[in-house]
Every structure is written in C-alpha cells, then in structure tokens.
C-alpha cells in the first residue's frame, strides 16, 4: 500500500544574528545552513495496517507524514502510496486518502457541521443518498448525530474533533494520515476517538498512519511502531517487542501486613520503592513467576500486583538518542 525508500527532506534555513548589526550583515552576506528534517527513511506498510510514528518534537514524524500524504516534496528518495506519487496530488489519489490534524480544523466555524459535510460530499462527488447513509453510519459510530446541526463554534473540543473525523472520513478513504488527533482532548474524548479509529480500521480495512505524543494512543491502536529520532528511523517493528528489548523486566508492587527491612526485600528483586508497608520491586521478566511464588511464601503480602513498566519510561531514553542497545 505504502512504500517509502530512502525518503529524505532537507530545508535550507537562513542564519541570522539578532540586533541591527546582524540584520545588516545578513543583507549583504546570507549565511544558510541545511536542516535535515528527515534522513533516509525506508519502510513499507501493507493495506489494513495500523502504524504509529513515535518521536520527540521536531524529530521528523510530521514531515514524514506530510511527504507521504503529498503535501511536501521530498528532497530525495521515493515514496508511493496506493501506487501513486503523492506529491503529484492527482485527483484519483486524493480521493483515497485523508489527513486529520489535531487542533487544526476544516469544519466551517460559524455553521453547523452538516454544512461542511454537504460540501465534502459534493467535493468527493458522493450521491446525496449515499452521502446521507454514510453520515448516519459514521455519526452513529462517533455518537455525534445530535451535534451535527449545532454551530461548530458552540461544540466542545472533543465534540468538534469527532465531527472533524466524520467530515474527513465521509469519502471512505483507504489511507488515513492522523497527525496528533487527540491533542488537547480530555480523557473521555481521547478514549472515544481511539475506540472509533479501531472500529473504523477493522470495519473498512483502512490503512492508518498515526503520530501522537500520547503513548496511550499508540499502545491502544498500533501493533507496529516506527521510532523516528532526528530524522532517522531508529526502529520499525512491534511495540511489545521493543518494550521487551529495552526493558525486559516487570514491576512487582507489594502491600505488606507489617514493615519489612530493605535487605530482606532485596532478596526477591531490586527495590525501587519502599515506604512503610508498601514496596515496589523490579524483577527480570523470566524470574517473575518464581519471585511471586517466593514472595507469597515468605512475606505473606496483603496485596500484590505485577505491572508492566510505563512505556513512556521505556521509550524515553530512545527518544533522547541513547540508542537501542544490544537485544
């Protein structure tokens, strides 16, 4: 469905010092430097996959996404989406894709969402009956049917985003490009949108590419992740695998009947937290079962939890460029 080969984007940026002297110097001798937003990124995405792009701010995720959708011309490399060259933005290509950006909207502000939907239906050449069917179906999936006749400016951020999704998916695109779609939304709205995207992907087999800061988005939706750091692709594979590779351990949280000294707890694993009768131990994955049995046997805890480490913590060093280490 999607192929990127040695994809790269370089910007030439003018370097200017501040102040009057700097401005004058700049007029006479321009100093520029090249910013490599994306360097040699290669990957393939099959139809129906749900792929997540992770990376720090400015890492190049959005630039990559925009090259895939045809907005930005690549400086070098090849990209093909649904057998089209995206940058040519041919009509047949544009009918098959959609771009959704968090905090940026295409809905007309002063009018109800239904008016934007009518325009989109006309732009994508949908028959009126067909358009109405799709609106009804998507509105039901998103639970926004009663909101469509309210002026968009009167909707809450979450409601607006859901209507944005409706407007963007009316033409049933085969490829969805989502750039931080849940940015700024409250937990309920985020979960609702995640649920919807999952349902959409399953029901229509659409290929979805998602960038997000919220790991919850990625873990809930993406089986496969691409980690981008300073324009380069660091990792391309399953999320669980990278988590395992980077932190092959689990956290065991204990609530004890009476305080136990640190040295005693240390026998069962690395003590990461100890406060009164609560403790947390870090144990290697393969040792979890044995440790749990031993703890129950010897310490008789009131409560015991085995937790996966927070993914943010796992990925964070990677995002800072500390590399993958050896598997």
């Amino acid at each position: 469905m999607l192929q990127a080969e040695s994809l790269g984007k370089t910007y030439r940026v003018a370097e200017k010092e501040s102040g009057m002297a700097g401005t004058l110097r700049h007029v006479f001798r321009r100093k520029t430097r090249d910013v490599h937003a994306v360097r040699d990124v290669t990957f393939h995405v099959a139809e129906g996959e749900f792929v997540g792009f992770i990376g720090a701010n400015g890492a190049g995720k959005t630039t990559t996404l925009k090259m895939l959708s045809g907005l930005i011309r690549p400086s070098h490399g090849r990209v093909r989406v649904a057998n089209f060259d995206p940058f040519r933005r041919q009509r047949a290509f544009l009918r098959q894709i959609t771009l959704i950006m968090g905090q940026k909207q295409q809905l007309i502000w002063d009018l109800p969402a239904i008016d934007t939907l009518r325009i989109n239906a006309a732009v994508y050449e949908l028959e009126r009956g067909e358009a109405e069917r799709r609106v009804a179906e998507l509105a039901e999936m998103l639970d926004v049917a009663r909101l469509l006749t309210t002026p968009v400016r009167k909707l809450s951020l979450g409601e607006r985003m859901k209507c944005e999704l409706l407007a963007a998916l009316l033409h049933h695109p085969r490829v969805l490009f989502l750039d931080e779609p849940t940015l700024g939304l409250d937990i309920n709205a985020q979960e609702a949108i995640r649920g919807f995207l999952e349902l959409y992907n399953q029901r229509y087999g659409a290929t979805v590419l998602l960038t997000s800061h919220y790991m919850a988005d990625i873990t809930a939706l993406c089986s496969r992740v691409l980690i981008i750091h300073e324009g380069s692709l660091l990792y391309d594979g399953s999320l669980t695998e990278i988590v395992e590779r980077l932190m092959p351990s689990r956290e065991i949280e204990l609530h004890l009947a009476e305080p136990v000294p640190r040295e005693v707890l240390a026998e069962f694993g690395e003590v990461s937290q100890l406060e009164g009768t609560s403790a947390s131990l870090v144990v290697e994955r393969s040792q979890v079962q044995r440790s749990v049995v031993a703890i129950f046997d010897r310490l008789r805890p009131i409560d015991l939890f085995v937790k996966e480490p927070a993914i943010e913590r796992v990925i964070a060093p990677l995002l800072k460029g500390q590399g993958l280490g050896t598997p």
């Binding site: 045809g70 544009l94 771009l99 950006m101 009018l111 934007t116 325009i119 006309a122 732009v123 050449e125």
Partner: protein, 261 residues
C-alpha cells in the same frame, strides 16, 4: 462539470450563510458604496467645474471610467478579498494542507471558495454609472459588446495580479498586505489614462500596474474608439497574466514547507 457546479453552489451558499450571521452589514455597505460614489463623482465634477481638459475626455466619458473602476472595486470586494486575502491565513494556520489534499483544483478552491455580498452594491452602482455615462454619449451595440469583452479581460487581469501577489505569501507570510499596495495603485483607475502626465505616470499605469487596461481600454472599446492592436493587447495581457498566476502557484507549492505540528 455538473459536480463542479454543485460544489461551487455549495461553496457560495455556505459562505453567504456564514456572512449573514453578521446581519447589520448589507444596508450599511449599500450606504457606504453610495456615499463613496457620490464623493468620487463630486471630485470628478470639480475638474470640469474649472474647465480642465482631463486628457480630452468629456464628462460622460470620464464618468464611465469611474463607473468601470467601481465595478472592479465591487468585484474585488465580492470575490477577490474574501478569497485571496485569506491565503495567508491558510498558510499561517496550516489549513492550506486541507485545501491541497482535496480532490479539487487548488487554485479553484482558493479563488472561489467564498463570496461576499458586501461588494455587490459597488458592482450594481458601477454598472448604473456606466449606463448613465453611455446614455450621455452614443454607444453602439458593437461598442457595447467590445466593451463587455474588454471588461471581462479587466476582471481577469485584476484577478491574476491580485492572485499572484497573494500567492507570494506562501513564501513570505510577512508581506500579507502586499495586496493593499495593489489596491492603492488601482485608485489611478478612477481617471482615464490620458488625464495623467506623459512619461512615468502613463508608463507605470500601463505597463507596470496595467490600470489603463483595466478601466480606460474597456471604455474606449465601448465608445468604439478601441484600435485593433489595443484590443489584442488587452486580450493578450489577460491571457498571459492568467497563465502566469497559475504557474506561480504551482511553483510556490513545489517548495511548500507546511507548518509543523
């Protein structure tokens, strides 16, 4: 084609609906247009009050030039300002991305997406004034058709110039008001080109900002005074500028960097 017509119909109806949320304005814009026109006619009359020659143009003829200018002004307020002056907003807010990814010609979307009824009084009043001036002279049917043809060229020329200036904001967001400069220079179109001194003035307003082609030439054609080469120049200019506008947009989008998230 039919789908396109349906789309533009929806563009304009939604645009009007959104504008009419601010209800006070139509009567008001009619008032301002009328007052503006009265002031302009009054100023023009001052020239004739003192027996100035105004380049050999009579009152009726000069009034037609003013009327043509008013039509162009109304056209710019109805279609050009609401659409083209918004290009810079699209670039600033990143919503140009949405426009680029719609399966509709980008230039068409950027140029026809909106319509503002507030410019219509100027168009109507301008037409009225031209008719008044025509009635004072003698205008043949042939002249009327030639004049209309030239007016169409004027509209295309104005559109193309305005579009090109607005499109530069894809590169330089800071010069978003460059279209204001164009609007200011267009004021020269209130007067027939012959009213200006020979030399720099006539050169600039014919070849640099072709105001002469926008207001003087259509009226000359209307009066049956247009020469063959003159008409050809008008059509040629319109066609060339229209092509240049499209080429410029294409070139600007090649290097489009898009706002980061």
């Amino acid at each position: 084609m039919k789908a396109l017509a349906r789309t533009i119909w929806l563009f304009w109806t939604t645009s009007l609906l959104a504008e009419l949320e601010y209800r006070t304005n139509f009567a008001f814009s009619l008032l301002t247009s009328a007052l503006n026109l009265v002031a302009s006619l009054f100023t023009l009359s001052l020239f004739f009050r003192y027996d100035a020659e105004l380049g050999g143009w009579s009152w009726g003829e000069a009034v037609m030039v003013l009327g043509t200018f008013t039509i162009l002004q109304g056209f710019s307020a109805t279609l050009l300002q609401p659409n083209l002056n918004r290009i810079v907003e699209h670039v600033r807010q990143g919503t140009l991305d949405f426009v680029l990814l719609k399966p509709i010609d980008t230039q068409l979307w950027l140029s026809l997406r909106r319509v503002s009824p507030w410019g219509l009084p100027d168009v109507l009043l301008g037409v009225g004034i031209v008719v008044y001036g025509a009635a004072l002279g003698d205008v043949t049917w042939r002249g009327a058709i030639m004049g209309l043809g030239c007016l169409a060229c004027s509209l295309v020329i104005l559109y193309a110039l305005w579009f090109m200036m607005a499109a530069t904001t894809v590169w330089f967001v800071q010069i978003y008001n460059v279209t204001e400069l164009l609007r200011a220079l267009l004021d020269a179109g209130r007067f027939p080109i012959d009213a200006f001194p020979r030399g720099a003035y006539r050169f600039v307003f014919t070849f640099v900002v072709p105001v002469a082609f926008m207001t003087t030439v259509p009226v000359r054609a209307l009066l049956g005074d247009a020469s063959g080469p003159g008409l050809l120049a008008a059509f040629g200019l319109a066609a060339t500028l229209a092509w240049a506008a499209r080429a410029l947009l294409h070139y600007a989008l090649r290097d489009y960097t898009s706002a980061s998230s």
